[in-house]
């Protein structure tokens, strides 16, 4: 441990690390064992449905973490994070499409939609897309560069608050329209689907699925730790200060531009990675991921869990998406009611989210037990 001990204690206390350990155990040991080793008829068997669902929610949780970094800690509400998620997904989706090879409907070594559109060769966007490393690089580069350029211009001219939110919404809306076009070269309405292989492994086997699940778990935990590392650092303090009083930060001699730009770009990259992990597990990516409604939903995950706490973001993504997958099966017509009420209820009654509620309950209990003591001891 040695030099890292300081960082360890800075990130989480003993109980925090313990909880994280338990989480890692569940995701990396319990899930694989109960999914792969336990026979399907056993009551302890975890079905493929659950593996995919939890895998999907973990990708969303990563997006929620990214959103929390930018909104909860820095106070910038992005309504365009769905775009970065989708861009990551599309970048990696290109590789998956190339991996289909000649197994598509038309038995040609080209994605079906291109054959359908009667294209003879790959457009420039698909350059090197059969190389895993290049697509993996794009997953980081495309959302990162877009966020950097967009953020640089926006933050430099000090666009903030609601204005910033609205133009991020316009950005993702414009991108959605662009990707809906067949001529853009990414499959139009239908996007990418029918994947067959990843790194030459068949994509639908339990083994591959579990491998993807495990990678997602590791990346999620790593993201959480990275986020925690950032928000407990000096940088994190500046970010929080920007959230609370940007002009004061400026007057104290900091230039908020680079701080905002860093966290904004990082946030976009995390979203891109989440998108890239999402696509092979869910098996489809299409432009509707970029719809403004999707992006604004990300904000509600964070708001439900509790802004400004990374655990809250994880929790929120889990709660909302869990509720969504239950509602859309059980009461599909009431899901929008519930989602709408959640938006209203959380902003009105739970400004600190679930974490805040738990905190205040704990405080009350604590107060009941501890207060008499305190009253006696304090002079």
């Amino acid at each position: 441990m040695g030099p890292f001990a300081g960082i360890f204690t800075r990130l989480y206390g003993t109980r925090g690390w313990l909880a994280l350990g338990v989480l890692a155990c569940v995701l990396l040991v319990v899930f694989p064992v109960f999914n792969l080793a336990v026979p399907a008829d056993s009551p302890f068997h975890i079905s493929a449905y659950w593996v995919t669902l939890i895998g999907k929610i973990m990708c969303y949780a990563m997006v929620a973490l990214a959103m929390d970094l930018i909104w909860g800690y820095t106070g910038i509400l992005s309504l365009g994070h769905g775009l970065f998620f989708a861009l990551g997904g599309y970048s990696f989706g290109m590789y998956l499409m190339r991996q289909i090879g000649a197994d598509g409907q038309y038995r040609v070594n080209m994605p079906d939609f291109m054959v359908f559109l009667d294209w003879k060769e790959f457009p420039w966007q698909w350059w090197m897309s059969d190389q895993f490393w290049w697509c993996a690089l794009l997953v980081v580069l495309v959302p990162g560069l877009l966020a950097f350029v967009f953020g640089y211009f926006a933050f430099r001219s000090r666009v903030k608050g609601v204005y910033f939110s609205i133009i991020t919404q316009a950005l993702t809306y414009a991108a959605m329209l662009l990707f809906f076009r067949n001529a853009t070269g990414f499959g139009g309405n239908n996007g990418f689907t029918d994947f067959k292989r990843i790194l030459d492994f068949p994509i639908t086997t339990p083994g591959t699925r579990m491998a993807l699940f495990a990678i997602t778990s590791v990346v999620l935990i790593a993201t959480l730790l990275l986020g925690r590392y950032i928000v407990t650092s000096k940088l994190g303090r500046v970010l929080t200060a920007i959230r609370d009083a940007e002009s004061r930060v400026m007057f104290s001699g900091y230039n908020p531009l680079w701080y905002k730009l860093f966290i904004w770009t990082l946030s976009a990259v995390i979203c891109g990675i989440a998108g890239a992990l999402y696509v092979p597990q869910v098996g489809i990516i299409n432009p509707s991921e970029m719809s403004p409604a999707n992006s604004i939903e990300i904000a509600i995950w964070v708001a439900v869990g509790g802004r400004g706490t990374l655990v809250g973001a994880l929790l929120g993504a889990g709660i909302v998406n869990g509720a969504k997958s239950w509602f859309t099966v059980a009461y599909p017509e009431y899901w929008l009611f519930f989602l709408g009420l959640m938006f209203i209820g959380v902003t009105l009654f739970m400004p600190k989210g679930v974490i805040g509620v738990i905190g205040s309950i704990r405080e009350k209990i604590h107060a009941r037990i501890v207060t008499p003591d305190l009253l006696e001891k304090t002079p």
Partner: protein, 534 residues
Amino acid sequence: MLRVIYITLMLALAALVRPAYALNATTVEKLAFGESDEQVAAVATLVAEGDEKALVLLQALADGELQSAGKRVLIVKGEEGYDAITGDKISPLPAEREDVAANNRLRRELGTALAALKLVSRDRAVRLAAAKELESGADDTMLPLVKQALAREADPVIKPMLEMIQATLELKGGTKDARIAAIRTLGLSNNPNTKSLLLPLLEKNKDGSYAESDEDIRIEAQKSLRAVEGRLAWGERAEQLFSGISLGSILLLAALGLAITYGLMGVINMAHGEMIMIGAYATYVVQNLFRAHAPGLFDWYLLCAVPVAFVASALVGIALERSVIRFLYGRPLETLLATWGISLFLIQTVRTLFGAQNVQVENPAFMSGGTEVLTGVVLPYSRIVIIFFAAVVLAAMWLLLTRTRLGLFMRGVTQNRPMASCIGVPTPRVDMLAFGLGSGIAGLAGCALSQIGNVGPDLGQSLIVDSFMVVVLGGVGQLAGTVYAALGLGFANKILEAWQGAVLAKIAVLIFIIFFIQKRPQGLFALKGRAVES
């Protein structure tokens, strides 16, 4: 409609039938008993003679009413029969009759022939319809007939049409002078079809020689073509201008209410689109009530729907302000999320009440159809009405803001909320009324939109980004900004659309706005303030 005219015309002609109009018996017999070629020739002869009687005969043939009994040719209408040659009434009808068959080739000939004959009809509507039909296709045999009709024609609308048809026909064959004259006449046309007539004259063959060997004709054709293209381009520009204004007026209606709520309270109301939707559905309900209870007054339902849409949306808006939004003042991002939640809630409510499908809102009779300002450039009445409606709403808003006490209060609160509050402006009340007003105007927008587009639960969602763009571009606090931004975006969209297609146009406009915001974060027209940040 045209068919009704033909039939009435035929009956009128039948009444006028006199032996003096008798047709050439041999021609009629050829038509009835001849081979296909003979029949076609007979049709041509009848057309060339231009007799009104021929129209009745050919129309009867086209309608399958021409029959033969032995050597006689009859026109049979129901139980009555007429001799096709003399026009005498025949009773009783011979028992043994056979239909005169018309094959496809003959039917085609009949179509143009009838049109040509109608050109000399006495009824102006029939002549106009016939001229329009010939405009889109006439063949050389018609030329004498067109000339004949032209000599008789005095109507200011039909005459130029006939001249154009004549020019078209003369261009194909005829002497050099006639062709040059024809080309010149074509040069005066507004009809896009003339372009395709003139262009072949200028084309080159594969070996590089001109398809048209005569140079004078080529020069004339070039001149005429340029003139026609110039006028057509103007027509196109006029159409773009109009659709730009039309889109602008819709954007203006959609964004006006948003500008008020945002300008006044700093509230980004994500449920604004749903206020528009509520207005549209209110219009739908009023329409249904009129249809059920006062079908006679159906054309006037809009007069009732406008205030109903306003009040419905305004009430929903006020209810939202009182129940949710007022608790979130000063927290714009939270307001944004809460209003988004409200919008989802409203969408689902409407889906539950009216179904997820689009509903039908019918135009009143005076708003359907359009006026044709140039050939091919039709301005729909509904859009014209909406442009005026937007102007009226804008004027009313302006009066309200500048001439009433509420307007004064609203401007005061927009400029400096604490100070307005200090001197006794009841800001919570002003907020409530302003929110109601903004929502009500959205309702009016919905009422207008229901006349030109689909009405469905998602109506608002598709508008919300656009309306925000208008507000962001225009800046807050002044109506002028919203107006310029709405019209500007409307034009930009339409002009880019003509050039690069609708989707790319929209993307280009959105990207432009994103860059514009960098330069002027407060929009086109910002209220000047001294605070470091607003």
